[in-house]
Amino acid sequence: MKLLLIASCLVLLTAFSTNADVPKPKTPDKPKLILHTGLEIVPDAKLYEAKLQISQSDFNNLRAALDGGAGSSSPVVGSIAFSAPRTIVAGLLMFMAVSVAGVLIARSSSVGRAQKTVGAVLLVAVLLGAAAIITRGNAGPPGSWRWRNLPQALAEGKSTVGGVDVEIVPDDQMNGRTMRLIIPLKKQNSPGEE
């Protein structure tokens, strides 16, 4: 029996080491998100050539993101999510806040057991909500919402403002083009159309 177990272990270990030696399958390069910023599309009847204007600050952010190599997004989200020391300090302070609040709720003599339970549940709910908001900093209406009236605005000669993610795409995936603007437009059914 012991021999059988040892043999089984040996077979399993061999299988793991064999699998570990298999090279990782080569996956095609994916576009890398480096910046989230705002974009305004302005129709101009007087121009003969399309223009792409980038603000100095966005250009600096773009260059910094490329130099840094990390996939930082907007300055806001980046400053919240991508700093280990600050996240640790924030976590410790939040831990202390929750601990002190819990002790105060537990020690409070004027509060009944039911109210304490409600308070504790609310505290946990608020914490979870805050954590969800922080980790999902871009929560809210989807980006496509701002672009929904783009065709109508273009037809009327008006500008449209919305968010845009700047991605760096490998050359072989661009089909010979150098830049591409992809707008998240949903097909809208006209009245009466099913």
Binding site: S57, S74, V76, S79, P85, M94, V100, L104, S159, V161
Partner: protein, 340 residues
Amino acid sequence: MQNATVIDGWPRRATPTTIPFSAIVVLSVVAAAAFASWLPLQVSIVTLFLFAGPHNWFELRYFLMRLPVRFGRSRNFFLTAFAGLGVLTLTHVALPFLYNATLWSEEAWYGVVGSWNTALLVWLASLVWLRSRQKPRANWKWTIPVALALCSLNWLGPDLFSLAIVYVHPLIALWFLDRHIRRTRPAWSCAYRRCLWLVPLVLAAMIWQLSLATPLADNNGLFWRITQHSGAEVLPQISSHMLVSVHLFLEMLHYGVWIVALPLIGRIGSARFWEVKTVPIARHPKGFPRVVAAMLVFAVVVVIGLWFGFSIDYATTRDVYFTIAIAHVLAEAPFLLRML
């Protein structure tokens, strides 16, 4: 131990009616929102030029009126208040110089700003604790976890926390006015609190209307500075028109409270705010009339200097003003706590 000699400089009066008061408050809020939404940059320039200095003068005078002749049992509270006020103001003013003199990384600067914000919160929590010791019935222990939670949020995004201070500070004036009305004209208190519900509604309407507005043209140094002060760089995905308008709306309410509402509600008819003797610590036999007079005259000189500076170089003066103005933001905390 000697008790603090608190002097109430405002006599209580009976009020005939609250309707004109409510109408003026509603009209002021709506007018401020309309102007701030319509021409945010232009109105911001004019508003700051005209009212920034005078509102600081009125605030100084108000704080002098709330200051006791002898600190008594409040000695530790006021010592902590003034020490924190001095240290935090000096360090805040030093930050731009430090920024220009050093080549720290962005992350290091987040650490510096986060540390300053933490020091501010610790100072506020200390003041609350000292104040709560003078009010045995008040249970302010809940402020400790709140302060810790705010410190935590600050470290997640120090620049966002600093921006939050910019937006929250104008609203503190409304709190001052609430406490002041409760003391001097209690009959108006209910109407005032009802009118306050208009502020979040107007803010929501402004945000709804302006969130998709075209960003403001910040193609010159001055307009760029105005949008930066409102947080356009920290929140690039939000329309700068909305940010500047909301900030300007709150600032206009702030100025209105300090320059118009608080001086007028205190002593309608007999208000002579320029007279030193109207300040209790100058009028009191054991008071300091010369010190108070010197402070108020010096403040007038600063206001005139500010106007002169705005006329010569508006953008630079605006930068200097917003850096130094942190002092009046901080000074509001201890005096508000004294009124609670």
